[in-house]
Amino acid sequence: MNPKLHQPVEQTLDQCIKCNICTTACPVAAVTDLFPGPKYEAPQAGRFRQAGQPTPDRSVDYCSGCRVCNMICPTGVKIAEINARARAVMVEQGKVPLLLRLRNNLIARAELVGKLGQPFHPLVNFALNIKPARWIAEVTLGIHRSAPFPRLTGQKFRTWFKQHPKPANASRKIVYFHGCSTQYYEPRVGRAAVRVLEANGYEVIVPPQNCCGLPLLSNGEFQAARKYHANNVRHLADYARQGIPIIGTSTSCTLTLKEEAPELLDMHDEATGLVAQMTYDFNELLLNLAAEGSLNTEFQPIPLTLGYHIPCQYRAHRLGKPGLELLSLVPGLTLIDSQATCCGIAGTYGYKKEKYEIAMEVGKPLFDFVRQIGEKIVVCDSETCRWQITHATGVPAIHPVELLAVAYGFPAEGPLAQLLTAEPRRTN
């Protein structure tokens, strides 16, 4: 007997003992009855699906892919993955209306949008914030008029990084996978990451890369996602071979590199495996350093008490709450865990006309928490979750690495800078 053997995704449905725990935990099923729940969709419906036959599925498209079910399933059914694959079959068989598929492809390609839009960022940002344009986008494309679109940055992360001087006395190397949001929307997160890594003696390498492909995976666009992932592996494999860790600040990107892409796309070649093995979440790696005793712990106090929310895609790394653990090393800083399940956005889910309300309803307990804490900023590791929280509550959200950078004495940027200048000395 070897319960540890890796099982193919679909075969894990054999693990289900029908206990209903997942149905109880599912944040989507809790707010809409268009989604009958994880047990129904994965281990149950899974027994009725057959390759090469017309797909019987419809409701599975309402799975947000948050993976809460995977986390609490006592028997190990890979529910979210089974659902993602069922949706991919729907897409492949043309069961998703063409216009919606076009829409999905648009919102799932933040990279393309960024690449095309960034040079014209003032114009695009303006256009994305005027009501008639959003109304048109909703009517024609099905992108909900209120969904939180991030603002394109004036200076892309890679542009900044090229000008950024290399540290003189780096003792180790690391590859930074910045992801699309850092590149086009929130380069401040990338700048903080580079500074924090350099403060720990790393020379940061930023190889060519594209979108991790997760938004495409969660929209069932597997072919396009495969291309993206294969490209990333091509760019990263050599570093992995040399034993250079690959680190990311976007918890969804790192999860995709580690697990989602290889598993969903059945990519089991040596290079993909190596890249997965060498990919680390930012906090995870720094905690490893702490355990080894090689973390720079010269933290300056940050006398703040802030709300913290762990994204679903971060929980799905099955590492616990490394963000909380790491930030607990910063003196003066207190983080209050939201204990909330999901913000609702689930990548691109909450952008869709037919799912926006569901997403907002799913995130309600979290939004209530953020409002109740009453602080001027909130901490969260994933970009779309940050945008969703800010959209719902008006409270700006930052990545934990931004706090670390400040703790190492680097100047704060963005919302954190505003907060620290507004209330520079609040002590406990």
């Binding site: 070897n2 540890k4 003992i17 109880t24 009855d33 009958p36 009725f48 006592p74 204990q339």
Partner: protein, 989 residues
């Protein structure tokens, strides 16, 4: 005696019998059919579901092969709704003689069976699970067939042509006329049969000009009552169903037919079959251990990793093989059919026997039989059964995804009763009302209810509830029907209970014994309609290697985690209790678990000891005294190990933490509460939430039991009838609330969410008061029972509010998982742990441990891309028994503790794991297995030596009791969790 007259009487309601009946009726004969149980109860309902192309017989029995392919074509035409066109492969594995392949191809060509060799690449593309070592693959037009539906359609067609179908009519004897001597000799004729109507429990005489004995393997038995001897050799064949369609094509080995050489995809499962063993009596045979083993091994040759699949159940049927002379091997007998005219053969007029053959050729057999009937009755009427298609309401093509597509199209999620097989309320209702199902097993044959992975775990209660609501029989009858079905499922489950199916079975036990207490329902535990059992298997000793799962060391991997003082593994009640106590003194504690714990499935009460294990006597008073006796008799019982004072302290502490969490639990070791369950049985429990206490059976106030329309986990009429039968006047009411009407799903959790809103509570109260105004009158004594869904976060207040609004005591009744009361306990404990700085993480399945000497150094949990290490000073193992995943088992009979491979106490190799009776009061021996510990709950070896000093074991992983049978699950969890947590919380680290 009731009397029926007919021209032709058909005995046997299988494929042949129903086929003959239809043919007779279509040719204008007045015909009746008797079947001792439901249609297809015999061999027809117990085969693998193959529509033969004939390929299987081309070398050995070319005549049978030709008949098969002819009939294959006809059946595809007349009953497309019963046939899934899967196609079939004949594959040559390394274990098969390559010389057979050319013979096979030539045979196919000769018999007219289309055969095409395909490349191995093509084969693997179509069926990726198949063994890549297969060297040749031939495609033939095999298919899979629904034999239940086909028999039903034949019977229905016959009815429309005027025939009579009498199920549950068992032939007692044939009626003979003329001079028959006591030794059966003399000149006489067969003139009908006397039957026992099992439902009405009366005899019925059926007179007929001609009797067609189509009773298959029972043909000899039937004929012998008229003194006619037919040598029918029942050949038992055993099959096993795999949980999902591992293949979508029929897979045959390309060789002479033998045991375990075929896999048929049928509906949601794949069936491997069969064995073939001569048995002396078609009513008495066992599923033997060697048969299961053989099929696993043969399956492995076709599909590598076969053994690791989940097997749902196993069943056996008896082939009717006719034999005039003795041959030693039953497979050598021709598979073509046999039609006997007993006038010619035995000089007895009035009876034909049609037997042998296969399901695939049933129609041809019927045609030949009825031709003979025409001849006997001196009339000429032509057969039309091959020309006229069988009609059914939904004549769509049989396809795996059909049922899912239908539910999806209607978005009618809430009406799914059997969730595994997607059988809906409408299906069940039809089976009960139109098809007049007598038992839940009858409903199953019509709807596939209970045939999926949980084997009736959830839908048996639902089916019983619906049956009771629609038919309103005496409650004892419903109760027995429920028990009958659980026992029917159990008889096929037993041979395949390992791995996840064992885990499933234990969950089913938790539901039916611990939560629903159905072994204490009023009335008998079985009926005369119950499915007949298999004989107990002569179980061979299963090899049990002393130690498996080597403990790996991975010291070269980075240490990712900062060390904690205490690491608790497992988030059930014992783990949570240990964690809560462990944090009391400010220790840094982390609790990690694969998923949520067993209390999500339980009653939400704390059972300490419900029944005295030895006598099964119900414990009402002096629980403490009974516990003293228990630990005196069983000095290794977990309660004995911790001591009763620890139990007492644990209960007190638990009550305190619940009270602080706003969710008080009441009770003491003085007595057990006697609270109603969702089956209507009364269950003993020690601590119960305040919101359940008004249901206590000691109170005799009349009760109103309130359910919600189309909330299929709760049946107020069933509960009320059972309570009434136990001396508590009760009435059931279904509320049809406007706010719930349009919902597509309605689970306990959704209802709990609804009750959180005051408007919903008001709606419920107003509806109740207007629906039964005469009941809600001042001064009238009354109490109201609801399903245990009265809110999740504010349950106590919601319950109080309802009491106030209704002006009478209100109580909750726990039922099918998920347990809302269990979730409340989880919330209370989790919050208590976290408020003291303890951390709780789910999704972390601990997979291995690194130990050094008698110390645990690190444990590793599964995580994305690589395992995550956890280091702690002290470890608490709270992963549960089979049900929680703390203990694992496999097809080879190995049982192990999943993480540390701690030595297990388990039944002696010669002891069977299971009793033949699902509800056996003594419990199944395998569930007494567990870990031996010392008084500190540290695991010890046979000599009592501590294995790991910094490891404590708590909860149902502990050996020497079956907590579900004795109703002590939560008590043991709390007592041991408390003991370990308290000790570790105080240890100097």
């Amino acid at each position: 005696m009731r009397q029926i007259n007919t021209d032709v009487l058909v005995i046997g309601g299988g494929a042949t019998g129903t086929g003959v009946l239809r043919d007779l009726a279509m040719r204008g004969f007045k015909a009746a059919l008797v079947e001792k149980r439901d249609l297809t109860y015999g061999t027809t309902g117990r085969y693998h579901g193959l529509l033969h192309s004939g390929g299987r017989y081309v070398v050995k029995d070319p005549q049978a092969a030709r008949e098969c392919i002819e009939e294959n074509r006809i059946l595809r035409r007349i009953m497309p709704q019963c046939i899934e066109d899967t196609g079939g492969f004949f594959v040559l594995t390394p274990w098969d003689d390559p010389q057979y392949a050319p013979l096979f191809v030539a045979g196919c060509q000769k018999a007219g069976i289309p055969v095409e060799e395909i490349t191995i690449d093509q084969m693997l593309q179509e069926e990726p699970a198949l063994n890549p070592e297969i060297s040749r693959c031939f495609r033939v037009p095999d298919a899979s067939a629904d034999s239940f539906l086909a028999a039903d359609l034949n019977a229905e067609s016959a009815r429309q042509y005027g025939a009579l179908v009498l199920t549950y009519h068992e032939v007692l004897r044939l009626i003979t006329k003329g001079n028959q001597t006591s030794d059966g000799k003399g000149s006489f004729r067969v003139a009908g049969a006397v039957c026992q109507d099992l439902v009405k429990d009366e005899e019925v005489a059926i007179d007929a000009d001609l009797v067609v004995n189509a009773s298959g393997a029972w043909a000899g038995k039937i004929a012998s009552s008229a003194g006619i001897s037919i040598s029918i050799r029942p050949g038992k064949g055993t099959m096993m169903a795999i949980n999902h369609r591992v293949v979508n094509t029929v897979i045959n080995r390309c060789k002479m037919p033998t045991d375990g050489d075929i896999i048929v995809p049928a509906h949601t499962v794949a069936v491997i079959g069969t064995t073939d063993e001569q048995v002396s009596d078609p009513d008495h045979f066992a599923i033997e251990d060697w048969e299961i083993r053989l099929m696993l091994e043969e399956g492995e040759k076709l599909i590598p990793g076969f053994k690791n699949y989940r097997f749902l159940r196993s069943w056996a049927g008896v082939r009717p093989l006719y034999q005039e002379e003795n041959t030693s091997e039953s497979r050598d007998i021709t598979r073509a059919y046999v039609l006997l005219d007993h006038a010619e053969r035995d000089g007895v007029e009035g009876m034909l026997t049609i037997t042998s053959g296969k399901w695939t050729t049933y129609r041809k057999m019927a045609e030949a039989t009825v031709d003979k009937v025409c001849e006997k009755l001196k009339t000429k009427r032509n057969c039309r059964t091959h020309l006229e298609a069988l009609q059914s309401a939904d004549a769509h093509l049989h396809r795996l995804g059909s049922r899912l597509a239908q539910v999806e199209a209607q978005k009618d999620f809430r009406n799914v009763i059997c969730e595994c097989e997607l059988a809906t309320y409408a299906d069940i209702e039809k089976a009960i009302l139109s098809a007049k199902a007598n038992t839940i097993d009858d409903i199953r044959r019509d709807t596939r209810l209970g045939m999926g992975p949980c084997q009736g775990g959830f839908c048996t209660l639902r089916a019983a509830g619906i049956l009771h609501q629609l038919r309103q029989p005496a409650i004892e009858q419903t109760n027995a029907a429920l028990c009958d079905f659980l026992q029917e499922r159990w008889k096929g489950l037993q041979p395949t209970l390992w791995g996840q199916q064992l885990r499933q079975e234990r969950l089913d036990e938790l539901i039916y014994l611990d939560v629903l207490n159905i072994d204490h329902l009023p009335g008998p535990k079985e009926t005369r309609l119950k499915s007949e059992p298999y004989l107990p298997s002569e179980r061979q000793e299963t090899p049990s290697p002393g130690s498996n799962l080597p403990v790996e060391t991975h010291s070269h991997l980075p240490r990712t985690s900062l060390q904690t003082d205490i690491l608790v593994i497992g988030a059930g009640l014992s783990g949570l209790m240990a964690a809560w106590r462990g944090t009391a003194q400010g220790k840094h504690l982390r609790l990690i678990a694969k998923g949520w714990g067993t209390h999500y499935w339980g009653s939400g009460c704390i059972d300490v000891l419900g029944y005295i294990p030895a006598t099964q006597a119900l414990i009402t008073k002096d629980l403490a005294g009974q516990l003293e006796l228990l630990i005196k008799e069983n000095a290794r019982h977990p309660y004995a190990v911790c001591g009763l004072d620890q139990l007492q302290a644990a209960l007190k502490a638990f009550q305190e933490v619940c009270k602080q969490g706003g969710y008080p639990l009441d009770g003491t070791l003085e007595k057990n509460w006697l609270l109603p369950t969702a089956s209507g049985a009364i269950r003993p429990t020690c601590l119960a939430p305040s919101s359940m206490l008004a249901g206590d059976a000691e109170i005799k106030t009349p009760a109103i039991i309130v359910g919600f329309d189309r909330f299929f986990d709760f049946y107020p009429h069933l509960i009320a009838a059972n309570l009434s039968a136990q001396g508590i006047p009760a009435q059931g009411i279904l509320l049809d609330l406007p706010s719930l009407r349009s919902r597509r799903t309605l689970s306990g959790r959704i209802l709990a969410q609804c009750f959180e809103a005051p408007e919903f509570c008001n709606e419920v109260v107003q509806h109740l008061k207007t629906k039964i105004p005469q009941v809600f009158q001042p001064g009238k004594e009354l109490r109201v029972g609801f399903p245990a869904v009265l809110g999740l976060n504010n349950a106590h207040h919601i319950w109080k509010g309802l009491q106030q609004a209704l002006g009478c005591p209100v109580f909750e009744i726990p039922g099918l998982p998920p347990s809302i009361p269990g979730m409340r306990l989880q919330q209370v404990l989790s919050q208590a742990i976290q408020s003291r700085g303890g951390e709780i993480f789910e999704g972390m399945q601990v997979q291995k441990a690194e130990c050094s000497g008698n110390e645990v150094i690190t444990v590793w949990s599964e995580a994305a891309a690589r395992q995550k290490p956890h280091r702690a000073g002290q470890y608490v193992l709270a992963t549960g028994n089979f049900i929680g995943g703390g203990m694992v088992s496999d097809a080879d009979g190995n049982v192990a503790e999943a993480i540390f491979n701690l030595p297990l106490k388990k039944p002696a190799p010669s002891t069977p794991w299971f009793q033949s009776d699902f509800l056996s009061p003594t419990g199944h021996p395998i569930f007494f297995s567990g870990i031996k510990v010392n008084e500190n709950l540290q695991p010890v070896d046979e000599n009592g030596r501590v294995l790991y000093l910094n490891l404590s074991v708590v909860g149902s992983l502990l050996a020497d009791t079956d907590p579900i049978r004795e109703r002590s699950l939560e008590g043991i969890a709390l007592a041991t969790g408390y003991t370990a947590g308290t000790r570790l919380g105080e240890v100097q680290s």
